[in-house]
Amino acid sequence: MTTHELVVMGASWGGLAALGLVLSGLPRDFGAAIAVAQHRGVEPADAVLADALARKSALPVREVHDKDPIVPGWVHMAPSDYHLLVERGGTFALSTDPREQYSRPSIDVLFESAADAYASRVVGVILTGANPDGAAGLARIRRRGGFAVVQDPATADRAAMPEAAMARAGADEVVALSEIAPLLTRLCGRVPATEQARP
């Protein structure tokens, strides 16, 4: 039985290549919804980042609009210049609250809201980055019974973010970048294609 329904991922410096690699390793029938906060500059409204990652992934990659439902098997991207939050009703919310750790989207904001809404059913993943965003969020996920995965700093483009997360939150698994997709697939299981919601 699958206990993890939502994977939240945070990435900063070097994160796009890492995200591309993780997403390309996930199977088409991946069993959980994925929400991603990737630090980036302010961009036009078009889903440029989502489109770029969609080329790497067997899963649909979508930029989130406010109140979008959380769909299993989909990759939901935080849009440029918005915080992405997980709500209890199985939906996302976007916010323009001030930046956290100089960032919007903030990884902490996504992770903390996911911890509050999904508790033990969420997996948090911290990837490469050069700042400590996500450490507090990952700590909250662990406190509420969720599962914490940190990219092995030795395999990270920038080690500061994984190291900060490990220092503050600890981790249930610290794995090489290439091992993250297989680990997530084990944690979240696979869903028969007929039960998958397709775009």
Binding site: E43, V48, R55
Partner: protein, 231 residues
């Protein structure tokens, strides 16, 4: 064509001495006064010139002032030009009504009070010049608006294209990144072309000309040498 700062005044009267007097009277307004002696000539003038106001004698042999006015009003091009009737006698109310229904905006009754004639014509000239000025401003504004939209489109094109290229590059898709940069350059050139018209240098031309300038080991051609030899 009337210069922007001048208005045309059309004076129609079958008697040359009246025309001469009116021309002198209107001289101080420094506008472009055209005098004709018949309704037919007036209609001909209106075909290819714009006027701020028409002073139209009512009593003329052949086509009279009322009929001339009716024909002026029938044409789209001249329909909205104000017509002031000049008349040698006092109108009764029936005739006055006939004139207004033919499209008159006013009457001037002979003997003419010179100051009043000049003042009335000056009002129509001012209205006309003001309208022209407003039209010019509106045209300039709409041109600026088009340019602003094109500039915004250019900005979006470049920002969007570079974002696509940047992400493709970070994901290791170098061909995709190169293609995105190429497409962005092409799109930017298209929009810039619209924006600047012909006042531009095609960056592609510079790139294409580049290799030809690489020294080949032969003596470089002397500029103009080919042309001189050809003569």
């Amino acid at each position: 064509m009337i210069p922007d700062e001048q208005a045309g005044i059309l004076v129609v009267d079958d008697r040359p001495e009246n025309l001469l007097a009116l021309r002198e009277l209107l001289e101080p307004l420094h506008q472009d006064v055209t005098c004709v002696t018949s309704g037919d000539d007036a209609l001909r003038c209106l075909l290819n010139q714009e006027f701020a106001v028409i002073l139209l004698d009512v009593q003329m042999p052949g086509m009279d002032g009322f009929e001339t006015a009716r024909r002026i009003k029938q044409r789209e091009k001249s329909r909205y030009i104000p017509i002031v009737f000049l008349t040698a006698y006092s109108f009764d109310s029936h005739q006055a009504l006939q004139g207004y229904s033919a499209g008159a905006v006013d009457y001037l009754v002979r003997p003419l009070d010179l100051g009043i004639v000049r003042s009335k014509v000056a009002v129509f000239v001012d209205l006309y010049l003001e309208r022209k000025r407003a039209e010019r401003l509106a045209a300039q504004l709409s041109k600026l608006d088009v340019r602003r939209r094109q500039a915004l489109e250019l900005n979006d094109t470049i920002v969007q294209g570079l974002a696509v290229a940047k992400y493709a590059f970070e994901l290791g898709e170098h061909d995709q990144a190169r293609a995105a940069i190429g497409e962005t350059l092409e799109a930017a050139k298209r929009v810039l072309g619209d924006l600047l018209g012909d006042d531009r240098v095609d960056p592609g031309d510079l790139v294409r000309e580049g290799p030809a300038r690489v020294p080949t080991g032969h003596a470089p051609p002397i500029p103009g040498h080919e042309a001189r030899r050809g003569r």
